[in-house]
């Protein structure tokens, strides 16, 4: 008995639910439409003077010039509010020393910010050099590929940025970056990385690390401008990129790269 009454009741209820479903479905499809139109990429650049369509940034590192002073890594931390006392770096300097017995010693104490100490006597060293490292702002960035929510992205002018207000902090991008260029910012609770000082380059300034380099080992410029210093070097020198086999197509080009450097 009770069951029957309940069933009747439920039938009426069901009709009501059915009505609601129809209304909901129409509303839902309207909403889906609005989402779709929203996600069609707009052609207009972000507002302001700077037009990102006119630029494609590129970076050259001349390892033959680097003196390993680490002022670049220092300036970067100060410019970009990178936690100064934590072992996280947007750019750093590595030292490679091939000893006479063919052993290769690589190090980068505190990213080179405090300079390097000569702990191996010069007589034992075969060859030695410094290599500055920085985010490669790949054309085909694995970190952007793996971000599950779209919190990191390539801009039109070729810079890979992080959206600190949207990043969920899963750190998949840190795992995905073959160059170790990303780190977890414990203050923000998000992933973080070099932006090539996007706030500077969009105002016509140089990235802090480039400005700080005393020997011109770091050169920054516009690949779309044939007159830029970066393009002149790319046209003249023999250049290489890091881990070319991974197909990431880096936009940081190295002059005088040794085979030991990965």
């Amino acid at each position: 008995m009770i069951g029957e009454i309940k069933m009747k009741l439920s039938r009426r209820e069901f009709a009501r639910i059915g009505c609601r479903v129809i209304i909901g479905a129409t509303a839902g499809s309207a909403i889906i439409e609005s989402i779709v139109t929203n996600s069609v990429a707009s052609e207009d650049p972000p507002k302001g003077e700077y037009d990102w369509k006119e630029h494609l940034w590129g970076y050259v590192i001349d390892t033959r010039k680097c003196i390993g002073c680490g002022r670049c890594a220092n300036a970067c931390k100060l410019e970009n509010e990178v936690p100064f006392d934590e072992p996280v770096y947007r750019t750093w300097v590595e030292r490679y020393r091939e000893l006479k017995d063919k052993d290769v010693k690589i190090d980068s104490p505190n990213g080179g910010i405090n300079g390097f100490i000569d702990d191996v006597p010069a007589e034992e060293i075969n060859k030695a050099f410094y290599v500055p490292k920085i985010c490669n702002h790949c054309e085909n960035p694995p970190c952007v590929q793996v971000c599950p929510v779209g919190a990191t992205f390539s801009t039109e002018d070729g810079v890979v940025l992080v959206d600190y207000k949207y990043c969920i902090g899963c750190r998949y991008c840190i795992q995905g970056c073959p160059y170790g260029a990303r780190y977890f910012n414990t203050e923000k609770g998000t992933a973080d990385k070099c932006t090539w000082c996007y706030h500077r380059i969009t105002k016509g300034l140089l990235p802090a690390c480039v400005q700080a380099c005393p020997v011109g080992a770091r050169i920054f410029g516009d690949l779309k401008n044939p007159e830029s210093e970066v393009n002149k070097i790319l046209d003249k020198e023999r250049i290489n990129v890091l881990k070319p086999d991974l197909g990431t197509k880096p936009k940081v080009y190295y002059v005088g790269l040794d085979r030991e450097v990965r």
């Binding site: 069933m7 439920s10 069901f14 639910i17 059915g18 609601r20 479903v21 909901g24 479905a25 509303a27 839902g28 909403i31 889906i32 989402i35 996600s39 069609v40 990429a41 707009s42 972000p46 507002k47 302001g48 990102w52 680097c66 003196i67 390993g68 002073c69 680490g70 002022r71 300036a75 100060l78 410019e79 030292r95 490679y96 390097f116 000569d118 010069a122 050099f129 410094y130 779209g150 919190a151 990191t152 992205f153 801009t155 039109e156 940025l161 959206d163 600190y164 207000k165 949207y166 932006t195 996007y198 706030h199 969009t202 300034l205 140089l206 802090a208 400005q211 700080a212 005393p214 020997v215």
Partner: protein
């Protein structure tokens, strides 16, 4: 279809529609403006505060004109003022805020100049143990024009 199944599927449909509605409210408006990301994030990145003003700013009139003019023809012209003096954009905007005091120890000059096997040979390097009698470098060299001895 059996009524209980109809009910179950209705519940499911309601949940899905509810999800779509909530989603449309929560996803930021600028998401998808240029690609699969929040368009406003670019503005956020552009608006980040600048810290390094650049050497040219120091040389502006009524400022460190004289230091700038000797620095600009010196061997140290490639060494930015802020590389030694620290970020100074705040100081440029408000002269009352002084930049960090400069680090004038031997070790600081040594980061660039102490002898090191990994440095390019043509770069001027000195042996910290023998050069300059353990005095502050600025005692003999002018940091703004090292050959001012």
């Amino acid at each position: 279809m059996q009524p209980h199944l109809k009910k179950a599927f209705t519940l499911l449909a309601i949940a899905i529609i509810g999800f779509i509605v909530v989603r449309s409210f929560i996803v930021p408006v600028s998401f998808g403006q240029y690609g699969w990301y929040r368009g406003d994030a670019i503005i956020d990145s552009m608006n980040f505060e600048i810290r390094h003003a650049g050497s040219a700013t120091c040389g502006e009139e009524n400022c460190h004109n004289s230091i700038y003019s000797i620095w600009i023809d010196s061997k140290h012209k490639t060494v930015n003022c802020e590389t030694c003096h620290g970020p100074s954009e705040k100081h440029v905007n408000n002269v009352r805020i002084m930049p960090e005091p400069v680090n004038d120890t031997r070790d600081f000059c040594g980061m660039c100049h102490f002898k090191s096997a990994a440095r390019p040979e043509e770069f001027p390097q000195i042996d910290p143990d023998t050069h300059g009698e353990n005095l502050r470098c600025a005692y003999c060299h002018n940091p703004h024009k090292p050959w001012f001895v």
